[in-house]
Symmetry: C2
Subunit: 130 residues, 2 copies
C-alpha cells in the first residue's frame, strides 16, 4: 500500500490548500495557477491528469471535465519552502484559459497599463457549450 | 505623473498581497514564487529589478540585496483572474534559490517520494556570508 508521507511533506495552508503552477512541457509556457487540496493532489497522481480544488465552487475540479482541455501530467515538482507545486503538463487542445487563450497570463504591463496579448484560439461560448 | 490605475486592476488578497512567479527569460525555467504588495510592485517597475514582500520578515525584499542574485525584469504579466503575477526575468548569477540551486522547484515526485534534483551551484554559506 503506498505511503502518504510525501503528502505530509507539503506545507498546506491553514485552509488545507497549496498553489499550483501548470507549465506546458514542450514550450515552457506558464499556463495557469490554481489550487489543490490533499484529495486533489492524490487524484492528480492517480489519474495522471490535473485535478484542482475550485475555491469558488468549493469542489474538486478535474481540469477539462467540461471543455475537454485536460492536462496530462509529465512531472510534479515541489519548491524549497514546500508550499508551491509545479506541474509540468501536456495541455490537450492547447487552451488552458477560460477566455479561450493558450495561457491565463495574457495581460502584459506596458507603460503603466495592462495590454491583452495572446489570441483567442476558441470562443469560450463554444468551449463551454453555454 | 503616472497613474496608478494599473495597480488597482489587481485583485490584492485580504492581506494586500499577490503571489508572483519568476520565470527565467531565456530558458523558460520557473525559478521561484514569492509575494508582492503594492509598494513592492511599484518599486519593481521603477527599478526594473524584482522587489518582493517578505512575509516572514514583514518587509520589502529587494531580491539579491544580500546574495547579489538580482532579477532584472524583462516583462510582467497578470493572469485572467488578476490575482497572480508572472515576472519574466534575467537571473543574475544563475541562482534563484536560497539553497544555491538555479530554481526553487528542485524536489521531484518519483514513486511517492520527493527526490532532490538540480545541482547546488554555490554553497549557501558562501552566498550569504554567514
Amino acid at each position: 500500500m503506498p505511503s502518504d508521507i510525501w503528502l505530509s511533506r507539503i506545507n498546506w495552508s491553514a485552509d488545507g490548500l497549496i498553489p499550483v503552477i501548470a507549465q506546458e512541457a514542450d514550450s515552457g509556457t506558464i499556463l495557469m495557477v490554481a489550487w489543490m487540496n490533499r484529495d486533489a493532489l492524490k487524484l492528480t497522481v492517480e489519474k495522471g491528469e490535473a485535478v484542482y480544488w475550485s475555491r469558488s465552487r468549493k469542489k474538486l475540479w478535474h481540469k477539462g471535465e467540461e471543455s475537454g482541455h485536460i492536462q496530462k501530467i509529465r512531472d510534479i515538482f515541489l519548491d524549497c519552502d514546500e508550499d508551491v507545486l509545479l506541474l509540468v503538463v501536456e495541455q490537450i487542445g492547447g487552451i488552458a484559459c477560460h477566455t479561450g487563450r493558450h495561457s491565463c497570463f495574457f495581460q502584459k504591463l506596458e507603460n503603466n497599463a495592462w495590454v491583452s496579448t495572446g489570441s483567442i484560439i476558441k470562443d469560450p461560448e463554444k468551449i463551454y457549450h453555454k
